[in-house]
Symmetry: C3
């Protein structure tokens, strides 16, 4: 039988590269310089896992233990500059890779928190932080209101993936099956959400308290 | 005699709810979706204490130890959506609750740092971070210059409360008395500052160094 | 022979003051109040080292161990308000002090990470975070896209300084010599970059993926 964790760790590289490349495009929209592109790529791809580890007190952080991750993510961001003229032809591929990144990071975040013995609620939150917080850092550094808070079922996909993963284990289902189902459902959910432009309802409030 | 710490911990729930609800209104002003409202509520209400704990290396964080805090704050933020049409009728109540939150969080922050054996300056800083940093995170995520840096005696109230609390203990005054006085003076100071629109002087500088 | 580390630690005070004062000017451009000026000064001057320590799990943070740093940086920021009318006469001095700050913080960051036994890549990254992250926090709190990501050879200077420092030690060159060379080259590089307006190439991308 295929080792689910080995597949996940290979997909994690896809996730790192995908997040760094979409961050590079965001950097380009802000006319950042090449150093800024590499930094934003690294912060976005590694920021979610780093925030999770800092909040849980889980040291060393992944990129401190494996510094090649800095080269991988910074390099992927710089490569995006070279590919910028053709990137829009691969729009669909980018969206799929980014969705894989979201789902894989969520599952890996759950993995880490489970190994730390955290309660299930915190495991789900760790999955969500790992999947989503990198993009929040990217948007804050680009001086945008985080996309996560405004539109698309991004956080919801992460929560659904994490809940399936945690719930499946709680029910005693085999690890490989749980991982596969959480991955497949999360990815499908995300792609359907993009395809059909599913959105959460918005909250509009326009008064001042003061 | 009434147990001051027990009262404080009850008031802390008021503080969590008040901070989450004011954050929800800020989210509504940015047209965030429901997930964003819940996230911003949780980050605002729990962010100050989390930042303090990360900076002091004090693990586990409060919401990791008591995950129901995530439900409480996220739930309070979502409830605000339902109440949005009537919220402005309770404007005064909100301001009072928010002031209670500021003062209570400041005192609780001092408590934590004292228990860690930090020097008095750091205890006061811990009080200020706990009381104020959640609002800074809220404003950064809403893409605003933090209100804390711009207006109102918000940080000052937190410092006065914390100094009274630390100073009272240093003078050997009974814990319950110190807590009550710090709470009462801090709350009064904040409400007077709102009522009479007290502000710190502003610093205006409009040249570039480069 | 002069003790290189003693000189560095004296220059570190120059660096703290310089970073706090330039942050105060940024606060003035945003019309912050005096509390905001002091807070932004402290966060900018101490933020880089604090972020490095949090990411490496290195406790206690510098200002927790030496609380007078809070007074030094907050005080320097407040002093800037009094000096605001004459500050532009010292424009050149400010740029030199800021450059000294960047280089000294980078070297001190490398020092800390080396003492923690981190691999060389992480030592260089620690130097860069210590030198540059304070300015990123300043810009985020001022609601700007970080200058670090947009222009000037700021991060590059930090990396060159850190690489020289790490490389020199790897080659077994005497500590004092390595420190002096890294300092002199880094400072010269930064001042030349300002003088001749050296910039990294920019990445411009103006399509949306969605």
């Amino acid at each position: 039988m295929i080792n689910a964790d080995a597949v996940l760790h290979i997909l994690a590289f896809v996730a790192y590269v995908a997040e760094a490349m979409t961050a590079a495009l965001a950097a380009g929209r802000r006319t950042m310089d090449w150093v800024g592109v590499a930094l934003l790529g690294g912060v976005t791809a590694l920021g979610g896992g780093s925030l999770r580890d800092v909040l849980l007190g889980h040291y060393p952080l992944s990129w401190v233990e494996r510094p090649y991750l800095l080269g991988l993510t910074g390099g992927a961001a710089l490569l995006t500059i070279a590919l910028a003229r053709v990137v829009h032809h691969f729009r669909l591929m980018f969206l799929v890779l980014d969705a894989i990144g979201l789902v894989v990071f969520s599952i890996l975040g759950c993995n880490v928190a489970t190994a730390l013995g955290e309660p299930v609620v915190i495991v789900v939150v760790a999955g969500m932080i790992t999947g989503c917080a990198g993009g929040v850092l990217r948007d804050v550094l680009c001086n945008d209101v985080p996309l996560l808070f405004r539109s698309e079922l991004y956080a919801s996909v992460s929560v659904v993936t994490s809940v399936l993963y945690v719930g499946g284990h709680a029910l005693g289902i085999a690890h490989a099956v749980v991982t596969l189902v959480a991955f497949a459902v999360g990815l499908t959910f995300r792609l359907l959400a993009i395809r059909f432009k599913w959105e959460m309802p918005k909250f509009v409030y326009d008064r001042d308290l003061h």
